[in-house]
């Protein structure tokens, strides 16, 4: 279990962490998401005792990381897959880490096998692709067979096969009862992996919620309607008390009425329609809605060409 409580850290004028608090519980994959610069990496460095926080504390299994005698047996971390000496072989990289924890060469060979690096284990890491480096970094994180794992953007640079592999790996690690924290700046990477999300922006937690609840909330009970006569349909539905919006040629989004009522109203008014469906938001949409009030994040949204209006943050606005 990893507990982060009230972390504050300032770099010059920049408030990197501004009361960051969350808990990574065992048995599930917790996604750690937010735009670049939101404080994800800083939080991870503070958890590892690499950076000192100005306030608050971070505990691994109830203890500060720097007080752990064999820290890699408590928390395995992958921060930067490029942090390798190019002249050292993959096996030797893992071997010195193993020695630092009192582990032997057998465990090294096990994790090499586990991440699929056996054929290149005796090759120097300087010649490795980013994907191979990610695998080596994950092997290092797994070395101490820790109850908690923390991976910063582990999907980066992996080929599609590697992406599928790591999703399976993360799920199985969580299924074994480990606490797994995976950061990403891309929501879609976490859609099929994470059970729980900690969404951060500007150094603090914006949302701390289950993935299912988040999507539920973002879907907002809206109904999507396809019709050849959108004007007539909107008129009829508005009279019935719904909030309507044309969202494309022949597409209308309806809020305030469940789909059965929409069908009844349209049928009663004689407006033809081809499809009525409950709208289901993607995690990406839910995330954007959630972080819409973040200035930094709006800039990111505009850059990506999206233009969704911000919704209310609702019951999951601040999960703490």
């Amino acid at each position: 279990m990893i507990e982060v409580s009230g972390l504050r850290k300032r770099y010059g004028q920049t408030m990197a962490l501004d009361g960051m608090s969350f808990t990574v519980t065992p048995g599930r994959v917790t996604g750690f998401v937010g735009p670049n610069g939101a404080g994800k990496s800083t939080t991870m460095r503070v958890i590892l005792g690499l950076d000192a926080a100005d306030g608050g504390h971070a505990l691994v299994g109830g203890r500060p990381y720097r007080s752990l005698r064999s820290p890699l047996r408590h928390l395995g971390a992958l921060l930067d897959a490029a942090a390798l000496h190019p002249g050292r072989t993959a096996r030797h990289h893992l071997l010195w880490l193993a020695h630092s924890q009192g582990l032997g060469v057998r465990r090294v060979d096990e994790v090499i096998e586990l991440v699929g690096l056996a054929p290149v284990a005796r090759r120097r890491a300087g010649g490795f692709s980013l994907g191979m480096r990610q695998r080596l970094g994950i092997a290092a994180a797994l070395l101490g067979d820790p109850p908690a794992l923390m991976l910063d953007e582990p999907v980066n640079g992996l080929d599609p096969e590697g992406v599928v592999w790591i999703r399976g790996l993360l799920r199985s690690l969580a299924a074994e009862g480990r606490a797994v924290l995976v950061s990403s700046h891309l929501m879609s990477e976490l859609q099929d992996t994470a059970d729980h999300l900690v969404v951060v922006g500007r150094g603090r937690v914006v949302a701390d919620t289950g993935v299912a609840e988040l999507i539920e909330a973002a879907s907002g009970g809206r109904v999507r309607l396809r019709t050849a006569e959108p004007a007539a349909a909107m008129d009829a539905l508005a009279r019935a008390g719904a909030v309507v919006a044309a969202t494309g040629a022949g597409t209308v989004t309806v809020s305030g009425l469940v789909s059965e009522r929409v069908v009844a109203v349209l049928g009663g008014s004689g407006v033809p329609f081809s499809e009525v469906a409950a709208h289901r938001a993607t995690l990406e949409e839910a995330y954007m809605e959630l972080t819409g009030d973040s200035v930094e994040f709006r800039a990111g949204l505009r850059a990506s060409g999206s233009s969704r209006s911000s919704g209310s943050s609702g019951s999951w606005g601040d999960g703490r």
Partner: protein, 513 residues
């Protein structure tokens, strides 16, 4: 800091070091460069002497009772003493001649005068063999009365020159292995100068008067730096009277024998710069050339370590890069995640690089000294003999110097975190001061201060032959004489290494990684 935790950190750091091929190659290269340059220089050095127009090996210098090369050239007027006894004399004058640089080419320029350590007095000597044990009480030109024994030991008596108006009485007594020296201004009030033991002195010894004068040493500084040292002929003449012998002295009272110990012979068999003595009644006049003291002419064992600065450069680079490469790649964060104790991590790194460079330095120094001195002796060079303990100190001390310099370099790497800057800094405080101080580009005092104050002070551990206060010489760093004693110099280097390591730990503790 638990011992087990430190042991693991050590093991991890050793695995790190040995698993980068370039670093292990660097360690080997550092040792190899040291050995090859040292042996190359030894192989290029040849000495031979001419005898009757034929090149022959030069005679080895005599070796004293304590194993050092010695100079044992003087004029001795002596008799045999069986068992205990004593000799008493009065010295009434001491004069001399010194050859100066020729002012007119080809014309010998000789003037009256004495070199500071010109000496004359009474002596008890094991035998007339060069290098045999002795004890003597003497007057000197500028250092007053002295008692010296076995070449390297010197005790001061009263200062002052001797003259007819201010004569000196000297007495030397033998009692078993114990010899005691006395002096007096008037022959009635005696004061003891010193007492020494000459273990294993035979029952019958030589007892008598002597005179000697070391050459006149001049040091000229070259226009482009450097110093030329020249020693020129000098001789001393002393007048003795009131010569009294106590004890079982063989022969008649006029049975004095003169021996010009260690005199060189010309090609025609005549002595080169002979000494001599005359006797008129009770008055003896003795003239001698040369010195009774430690010998400093020849190569030192540490001269085979001339490749060390070059080798050290390579080892310093390895030490620096072993830590700065972690900063360059962000690997330091992985290291700190594995070993969160900042002090423990740096201590483990320092211990591993220290041990690895110590091993490289030990191998390099041992091979250089052993093979190098063998090469030198094979080439006819005189290598000043030193005790096994001294030779071991030179070799082990050199390895320790290499290790301390490497730890200092590593600490600078951890402080500066950039390879080029740290290598520059490390070389600027270790190898550079040594080269500046010994390449004689600096004034002598500046060179000495460099070797006192900078981490290069540790090079003093190489010095195998000490500077002798009672022998005039050019005791400059350039000639291999350091201002600090061997272990003190090494301690300075170690102190700097410890200081830099402390600062590096502080920086690592205070800041974010």
């Amino acid at each position: 800091m638990s011992a087990a935790g430190f042991g693991r950190a050590l093991r991890a750091e050793w695995t790190k070091l040995r698993s980068v091929r370039a670093w292990m190659a660097g360690l080997a290269a550092g040792a190899l460069v040291t050995v090859l340059l040292g042996l190359l220089s030894a192989a290029g050095s040849h000495t031979s002497c001419g005898k009757d127009g034929v090149e022959v090996a030069c005679p080895a210098p005599p070796v004293g009772p304590e194993g050092q090369a010695v100079s044992d050239r003087f004029y001795l007027v002596h008799r045999a003493l069986r068992g205990d006894g004593a000799i008493t004399v009065r010295v009434t004058s001491m004069t001399g001649r010194i050859r100066r640089p020729d002012s007119t080419p080809g014309v010998r320029n000789e003037v009256s005068g004495l070199t500071p350590w010109a000496k004359a007095g009474v002596i008890v000597k094991e035998s007339t063999r060069q290098g045999s044990a002795y004890a003597a009480v003497m007057v000197t030109a500028e250092h007053g009365v002295r008692m010296q024994h076995d070449y390297v030991h010197d005790v001061a008596g009263r200062p002052g020159r001797v003259s007819a108006g201010s004569p000196r009485w000297l007495r030397l007594t033998r009692s078993g292995d114990r010899l005691t020296g006395y002096e007096s201004a008037d022959g009635r009030q005696w004061s003891r100068v010193g007492a020494v033991e000459l273990p294993g002195l035979p029952g019958t010894v030589r007892i008598g008067l002597f005179a000697a004068s070391p050459g006149d040493v001049t040091v000229t500084r070259g226009d482009l730096g450097g110093a030329a040292v020249a020693a020129r002929f000098a001789q001393a003449t002393a007048t003795f009277d009131h010569v009294g012998l106590d004890g079982a002295v063989a022969g008649q009272s006029d049975d004095w024998r003169g021996d010009d110990l260690g005199v060189d012979l010309e090609a025609d068999g005549t002595p080169h710069h002979p000494g001599g003595f005359t006797r008129s009644g009770d008055t003896f006049t003795v003239t001698g050339v040369g010195d009774i003291g430690p010998g400093t002419e020849g190569r030192t064992v540490e001269s085979t370590l001339s490749g060390l600065p070059a080798g050290l450069i390579v080892l310093v680079v390895v030490a620096v890069v072993s830590v700065t490469s972690e900063y360059r790649r962000g690997l330091i964060r992985t290291s700190l995640a594995a070993v969160p104790g900042r002090g423990r991590l740096l201590a483990a790194k320092a211990a591993v690089i220290g041990a690895a460079t110590f091993a490289a330095g030990l191998a390099a120094a041992a091979v250089s000294v052993v093979a190098g001195t063998r090469l030198l002796r094979g080439n006819g060079d005189v290598v000043l003999p030193v005790s096994t303990a001294t030779e071991a100190r030179v070799v082990v001390g050199t390895a320790a110097l290499v290790a301390a310099s490497a730890v200092l370099a590593l600490a600078l790497g951890a402080l500066l975190r950039r390879g080029a800057a740290a290598v520059t800094a490390a070389l600027a405080v270790t190898v550079l001061p040594y080269l500046l101080a010994t390449a004689s580009v600096l004034p002598l005092d500046a060179a000495r201060w460099l070797l006192r104050l900078t981490p290069a002070a540790g090079f003093a551990v190489e010095q195998s032959v000490p500077a002798y206060a009672h022998v005039l010489g050019h005791y400059a760093p350039q000639a291999g004489y350091f201002p600090l004693p061997p272990w003190a110099g090494l301690a300075v280097t170690c102190g700097y290494a410890a200081l830099a390591l402390g600062l590096a730990t502080l920086r690592l503790r205070r800041g974010d990684a």
